[in-house]
Symmetry: C2
Subunit: 545 residues, 2 copies
């Protein structure tokens, strides 16, 4: 049996676009002699439409699209993901894979395990399948397990049912796994554990088909693959690219004529690829073309500027330098050099006039008080207003340049440097920012050495340094990872060798700044625990530690 796997980039709610993309692949696969085409989870509507699923007209369109696609399955079968109304009692919808053949939907397989943790909210919408079933096609018993259905033993908890086990009992020859599995660093090896674990357990080959694309916070990398009963990966599609491939299933094994097995990129290069893809796909899907950002001469904005140029082209990136009375000369010249190296336009817009106007207006209120946070924030907010004015006037989309370490401890000004339509590196720790810049410096040579080497500073008062108020970034990031990603408490983190007072201070800062993150832009998610929908914290609470 010849199977085509289609790793495509869908747009949520774009039924017409998604459907015609699917139909094209079916048409070509048929010409190339395929018997079956497999698409990713919820392909006709895109994953995840969230509360658009609450709108009946949305579900009607989804069901209609599935019908339309089914009509093109003449002389070829397809497995297509979508959402349909639940015909029984319970939640109103089901997340399903439709087996299409002979011009119609021959079988609807609902998903059993509905991920509802971190960024997943499927129990919010769907009724789970109560039992698994098998499709017989060309003498092969096909079991369909939708995404999480294969992850029963591979989360922080173990599900009470195992769809793979049920499929084995039903005599499945192969398991097809249409997925919408988001990217994070380390996800590839996590997936390999899952698939090889299931293959070992049941000696059934697994075919995993994932989508690619940027969907608000989530990045989907694709990396679709076929795993044989001996554990070998017979094919793996590339990361962050649409890709369609044909493989052969014969006597319990997958094989590929021209194996284009992608070798995994290493972590820093993969992170770069993910972030560039995220920016590019965001702009493409939103119909945006040009970006703007504040270029401080610091390492964070340098990285975002570089990523934006890599994603959109230098001609579509505008860097705005907004020096204040506290900016060092080096900051301005470094920022200018970076823009020259990258080839993007830059403008210089000093904030002194605006800054003084605020000080003048606020004099009756500020008089006699000590200079502090209010004065510092004024500068960050003056810059944000200028950036938004340029954005509103020229249509360039403002990219946020805060990193995860800053976002975590609140070392950023709400309505100031926390502004933007998209936070590019809000899930990238400062130590990773350095690693990425070193990588870009050595591979492209456009980031001035000085930007990487100078001491980090917000430059909001004379001689200010990050290290005045924060521990060393290597220590800070270590503590943050344990607290945020690994959900360890104070005592456990101290057990790992960190100073108790520093740990307490860092945790307090993280907790005290939930209110800032509540109003932050969407963040490209690249870790196992990103700020945003995957980490929901109450604002009104006592945070004991």
């Amino acid at each position: 049996m010849k199977i085509t796997i289609a790793q495509l980039n869908f747009k949520i709610g774009d039924f017409e676009g998604n459907t015609s993309k699917i139909a094209d692949v079916i048409f070509n696969a048929k010409r190339q002699g395929s018997d079956l085409v497999v698409f990713s989870e919820m392909s006709v509507c895109g994953y995840m439409p969230e509360d658009l699923l609450d709108y009946p007209y949305f579900i009607e369109k989804c069901e209609q699209s599935l019908e339309v696609v089914a009509q093109s399955c003449q002389g070829i079968a397809a497995i297509v993901g979508g959402v349909v109304r639940n015909p029984n009692k319970g939640r109103l919808l089901q997340n399903v894979a439709c087996f299409m053949n002979n011009g119609r939907i021959e079988k609807i397989i609902p998903k059993t395990l509905l991920p509802t943790y971190d960024v997943f909210t499927e129990a919010r919408y769907f009724e789970p399948a109560r039992e698994s079933s098998i499709i017989e096609f060309q003498g092969v018993k096909i079991g369909i397990a939708i995404c999480e259905d294969l992850w029963d033993q591979y989360n922080d908890f173990e599900y009470t049912t195992s769809p793979a086990e049920q499929l084995k009992t039903l005599g499945a020859d192969i398991i097809i796994n249409p997925s919408a599995s988001p990217f994070n660093l380390g996800k590839q090896s996590h997936r390999n554990r899952v698939f090889s674990g299931q293959v070992n357990r049941f000696k059934i080959p697994v075919l995993y088909v994932n989508q690619v694309g940027m969907h608000t916070e989530l990045l989907f990398d694709g990396s679709s693959k076929a795993v044989n009963p001996n554990g070998d990966i017979s094919i793996q599609l590339p990361e962050f690219e649409e890709s369609v491939a044909q493989l052969e299933y014969h006597h319990g094994y997958f094989s590929v004529e021209n194996s284009n097995l992608t070798i995994g990129t290493d972590n820093v290069a993969l992170l770069h690829k993910a972030l560039v893809f995220g920016i590019r796909d965001y702009f493409q899907k939103m119909g945006f073309k040009k970006a703007v950002l504040g270029a401080s001469g610091g390492i964070d904005s340098a990285l975002v500027q570089h990523l934006a140029v890599d994603a959109l082209g230098a001609e579509n990136v505008l860097a705005v330098l907004m020096p204040s009375r506290f900016s060092s000369e080096g900051s301005v010249s470094d920022a200018i050099e970076l823009s020259k190296n990258l080839g993007n336009e830059h403008i210089i817009l000093p904030i002194e006039d605006v800054h003084s106007a605020y000080e003048g207006s606020l004099k009756p209120i500020f008089e006699g008080t000590e200079v502090g946070l209010a004065e510092e924030n004024l500068q960050a907010r003056s810059r944000a207003v200028l950036l938004m004015a340029i954005s509103n006037k020229k249509g360039n989309i403002l990219l946020n340049t805060s990193n995860k370490s800053e976002m975590a401890v609140g070392y950023s000004t709400l309505y100031g440097d926390l502004c933007g339509s998209l936070s590019v590196i809000g899930d990238v720790y400062k130590t990773q920012v350095y690693a990425l810049c070193e990588y870009l410096h050595s591979s492209q040579g456009k980031i001035p050495r000085n930007i990487i080497e100078k001491e980090p500073s917000a430059e909001l008062r004379p001689d200010q340094k990050d290290s005045d108020s924060l521990p060393l970034y290597s220590i800070l990031d270590g503590i943050l990872r344990l607290y945020i990603e690994e959900k360890k408490g104070h005592n456990e983190i101290v057990m790992e060798g960190y100073d108790a007072a520093v740990v307490a201070k860092v945790i307090r800062m993280v907790n005290a700044n939930e209110y800032k993150r509540y109003q932050a832009p969407p963040i490209l998610r690249v870790s196992t625990k990103s700020f945003g929908k995957g980490r929901v914290m109450p604002l009104v609470a006592t945070y004991e530690i």
Copy 2:
């Protein structure tokens, strides 16, 4: 059997405070001869801690607190809500009610139906109970159904199991329903349908005990009540107040010595009560004292100012008037009159200097372009920066003054009038703003008539009026309700009698402004569908209508 019901205000994560509050009530109830005290759902930790539940130390504290409370149950029993580790396979936690007696936890009853829709996310954390069970106490068979457990037939969908039916089968004499049931207008009658429905179905009296309190977006009103088998409500505790009451259970009926049955407040008065309570409890729990807001002389800021004074006292409210070159004289004098009537401090801070400084700085970029949105937003953002500077300097918390109609259609400036720590009326439509102001005008007489009667305007350009870009608010709000609360699509809304082009325009505006709401402050929820965690929409999507 004498039962005390405790409608209390808990703080999330404040184990010490919550536990001592619970112990006090148990102590007093025992002195007053009660046999049993009933508390609301998840009382030791507060509802809802969200992802704090992912931290093992949080769960340990929760379990320890339950143990501590149990020790005080000597000569009196108690039903106390909390979270414990799930001893079996599945999700790691359970949402439980503990039956405490003889100084220990005698039985743990987990929740069966885990609400996961709108603002509820319980399937994110908890494994459901697989079966119900009964507690025998003083010859009475007590069935415990936690909150949603009684709502099996009263949502948009019907659950596949009915805990109440199971309890009936097990021979329950009464059903106790510890709850964390958030407020919205109309919730009271919804609850009455649920309780009288269950009582009618099974002829078992129901005792519903709810918490009060503001928890980030959610308001809990309490309104705890006992419903007898004949459908009569024998007691109902007040709305938005802590309250403890003793009642008698005898031969299948509840009775109360001094019935303090609260008569339902009418809608506008109840809305006022809810919003005032929300502000007050937010400030109390966060340890804040003073508020600041921008006072434009318009009806929205007038309402928020009035509510803030009602909640915090005039001495704790600062109104900042920030007239621009486009502000009418009336705006300033109306705003001054309002502050005088309410007795709060006001300051006048014209934005002209800041506004001109921005124009000067941006001249090279704006030159030769048409005056438009960028110029209008500059003013709104200049005001936000001034308000945040005052907030940072003086410690007053900035209250947001945008209403739901504006939030819906994006008639507001991101990082401008969308700023604030708390959105007070972000779930109140403009037509409700008018109704509230009329109510306050007639009951307290402090809102100048002129503020209610003048035509709404953002005053960001000469002679601007809301009606230039928006339909009449009565029409707008009608369409918004159908689209947002009732999730109707374009055609269905047109069927209700609205103009097709207007409906299309309004829906497009709502959809196009998801990105602004993504970065908006938390909103006090008073409707069945508020912007915020209860309405999660993708930003990157095609919104067909």
